[in-house]
Symmetry: C2
Subunit: 495 residues, 2 copies
């Protein structure tokens, strides 16, 4: 059977990708500084071999043969879906010449290096020529693919299969006005007390509490672990070895807690992908946006909710009596949900986060279309952040230079953050509808019903369904911002 042959080839590709993933995890978690070069060599060798294997004519031939075998099979069967996803990835991987891939790697490596320097000096002009090169590469990349409705569709499709620029625009149009209105309304109220959030906490107390929380969520420690790294992330070496990281930032003690919940959300997804998909192209998440929906759901819908803190606050208080002695669950919940427009995306709250994303996506669309020049970018950025959040960056480091994404060539990536928020709310609303005990269970610290539902509806499928189709299957609806807006309006109305 050519399907079996395909499975064998893809299994070998997955072994190499797993190895590269683990080595890249090590690089960010335990590598001694001297190991940079040897890690770069290993990682490059494994990625190159995996790419060579995946784009080999053996895969192409097996794909063609499998297509014939499956002509009469159920189009939704795992085999049929697997072949479809291999075919999709194969077509994308073989369209892009190896020379281009190497050039891209070299350009973004230099661009990231210069970006880090430029950000440290708040010197956009230093970064500008590199950004221009990255944009030129992205345009050339788009040209390897058949004409799309919008060139940005091609970039988006790398992270969000099947999602179109038009979908993203529609989503943003429906969010923009009402999110700005929520922020204005909340800003008019007195801010809740939150001084106790920045007191001096012991890292170990927060670490242990965070571990207790994600253990209650259902994180399986026999198939995962948590460590520390400069930038928190989650990585799955298949479903049976899923690793998350967090960090301790002086002055922001709860960043460790909410970061742990966030990464655990990603990890629960990876741990839940069906055994039948392991070591096949269907392992891992459906897309970055769907992945982000899981991290946001656990971090925000669950972890910043009132029932959650009714249950967990007494424990946190007991762990940190000096810092939280006089605080109530309600006061704590209000503090962690205070709305405060900030210049920095990664420090922003639920109400303002999507506006940071819109700003970026609107600018990158304009850059890719060519309607905005790189030299005009800082001014455009500053105008938009003033429009959306009423803020003016004191310098480009706190404005246009704050994120690594563009220097890394990640055009099309930002939109997935907002998709994550929106899909999370759709799932959350849907689960509440089919499971009316939702909030009461969370108020008891009971999460098995939620996790089981996510496993059955979403996690187990891995990459079997594309994001739009998956959301439709689960919620009966297209990707839609209404549930997210309802969630926000309800949340901020109650304060």
């Amino acid at each position: 059977m050519s399907i079996d042959r395909l499975r064998t080839f893809i299994g070998e590709v997955m072994d190499l990708r797993h190895a590269a993933d683990l080595i890249e995890w090590d690089e960010r978690v335990y590598m001694p500084p001297g190991g940079v070069t040897v890690h770069g060599e290993m990682s490059a060798a494994l990625r190159r071999l995996a790419h060579e294997k995946f784009t080999s004519s053996q895969i192409g031939d097996a794909l063609q043969a499998a297509d014939g075998e499956l002509a009469s099979a159920d189009a939704d069967s795992t085999d049929a879906r697997m072949v479809r996803v291999v075919a999709r990835d194969y077509a994308r991987a073989t369209r892009v010449p190896a020379d281009f891939v190497a050039e891209h790697a070299a350009v973004v490596s230099a661009a990231q290096h210069t970006w880090a320097e430029a950000r440290a000096r708040s010197n956009f002009a230093q970064f500008a020529p590199h950004l221009q090169k990255v944009i030129d590469l992205k345009r050339r990349y788009v040209a390897f693919f058949p004409p799309a409705d919008h060139p940005y569709d091609v970039l988006l499709d790398d992270y969000e299969p099947g999602m179109k620029t038009a979908d993203v625009r529609r989503l943003f149009d429906s969010l923009r006005q009402r999110q700005v209105a929520i922020i204005k309304e909340v800003a008019a109220r007195p801010a809740p007390a939150a001084d106790f959030l920045t007191r001096s906490y012991a890292e170990n107390d927060i670490w242990r509490f965070a571990v207790d929380v994600v253990t209650a969520f259902g994180f399986d420690w026999a198939r995962g672990r948590q460590d520390k790294s400069v930038h928190p992330f989650a990585t799955g070496i298949g479903a049976s070895d899923v690793r998350i990281t967090t960090r301790w930032v002086e002055g922001q003690p709860l960043a460790l807690l909410f970061g742990t919940m966030h990464e655990a959300g990603h990890a629960l997804y990876e741990q839940g992908v069906g055994a039948e998909h392991q070591r096949t192209i269907l392992e891992g998440g459906a897309s970055l946006g769907v992945h982000e929906s899981q991290s946001r759901l656990w971090e925000n819908m669950v972890g910043r909710s009132r029932p959650f803190w009714d249950h967990f606050f007494p424990r946190l208080q007991a762990a940190c009596p000096a810092q939280l002695g006089g605080v109530t669950a309600g006061g704590f919940h209000a503090a962690i949900n205070r709305v405060q427009p900030t210049l920095i995306r990664v420090e922003s709250d639920e109400a303002t986060y999507n506006l940071h994303i819109m700003l970026r996506v609107e600018l990158e669309l304009a850059l890719i279309e060519g309607s905005l020049k790189v030299s005009e970018l800082p001014a455009a950025w500053n105008a938009k952040i003033q429009e959306y959040l009423g803020l003016t960056p004191p310098d480009d480091a706190k404005g246009v230079l704050q994120d690594i994404h563009w220097s890394a060539g990640l055009f099309g990536y930002f939109a997935t953050y907002t998709l994550g928020n929106v899909i999370a709310a759709q799932l959350w609303e849907r689960f509440g509808a089919v499971h009316p005990d939702r909030d009461a269970e969370i108020g008891r610290g009971d999460f098995p019903a939620l996790l089981s539902w996510l496993r059955a509806e979403l996690h187990q499928h891995g990459r079997k369904f594309e994001p739009k189709e998956l959301v439709k299957r689960i919620t009966g609806s297209a990707v839609d911002s209404e549930p997210y807006l309802r969630y926000l309006e309800r949340k901020y109305a109650s304060h």
Copy 2:
């Protein structure tokens, strides 16, 4: 240049070997239990790919071409030596059919599994058929190679290039009688007080002290790290990322300290291999025996010496005042060097260790020759340990079943432990001769002269020279047990 072509091919093989080494490190140090299968897949895929690449005709062709190019080159040049070592490894790797390698892997995997069970139940009969299969495989392995003076030469050569069975026999013959005499003489004396060695210590105190010691030795933390694992080991991902592990055993607090010194000895060797040898076949150590010489030198010649403790004991005492308050440096030094025949190799002291090795090597020689049957092995073991150490194992778990090596197919490996002791003493004596301040420096905690000498004479060369040649270059002598016997006799005379 075909030399450059060869370097490129070998570089790619080394990338894969490094990746496999790192993944196997992870498996023993940080892998969650669920990761066993995916780690097995990754490791098998990388080892298989590395083997395929290394035995490909491209390497064979490049080797042949390089041979011509080098006809007029200095035979001791790095290029010439590199080609020679590649040719040696290539010849060995291509002689053994892939089917045999797969069969060997399957047999030793099952044998190790059964060995663990058999040892737990002290049931040799359960293990015997597996051991028979391993021995049969070893004989078939030997048959892939040209006839040697002794079939065991072929097995030895995998770990100790160029070393012959006759060399090992000669060494053992010269050691046996005098080591037994030392043990008898020491046994007649009153044993030194050592109760303070098994008091309850805090792991963290010993860990920090051990780190201070190996930092003083010269372990480079920018190019290495230390973690914990069930069985301590050292692994070098090239010279720039060298990792050691240790463990905490309740009731044996100093095992962590001496284990750290031992593994740091291995690590100092790896960190010292010349930059020119990195990512070539010449990186890493010359042989297991030479590697062991480095671990033994730092652990025993340095770490169990009187000058060392004259300097370091006050520090350890300050770190553990409750346990070591009334102890003197001399009393501590006597205690850690007490001689006490034991049934278990890994718990044995310097005076008795080699006898454990001789016993094993004599038995495995007889098994390979066919002069000893598997069914006769337990009785033969018990007779020999009685002869050498005057002890009788209460059961096979504490006798013939104690070590994993035979179940893992590691025939020829044990001899390298004794070679390590012997070579360590040769190096130690030589260094003392060219550097008369040796003991005074150690008494001041100064190790740069020793490390520099080892770097210049030994470490930097990596695999460039075979063990015998290397020892000759450094000491002017063949591998010789006299320095080790002198070292032991002096050490135990002074008590």
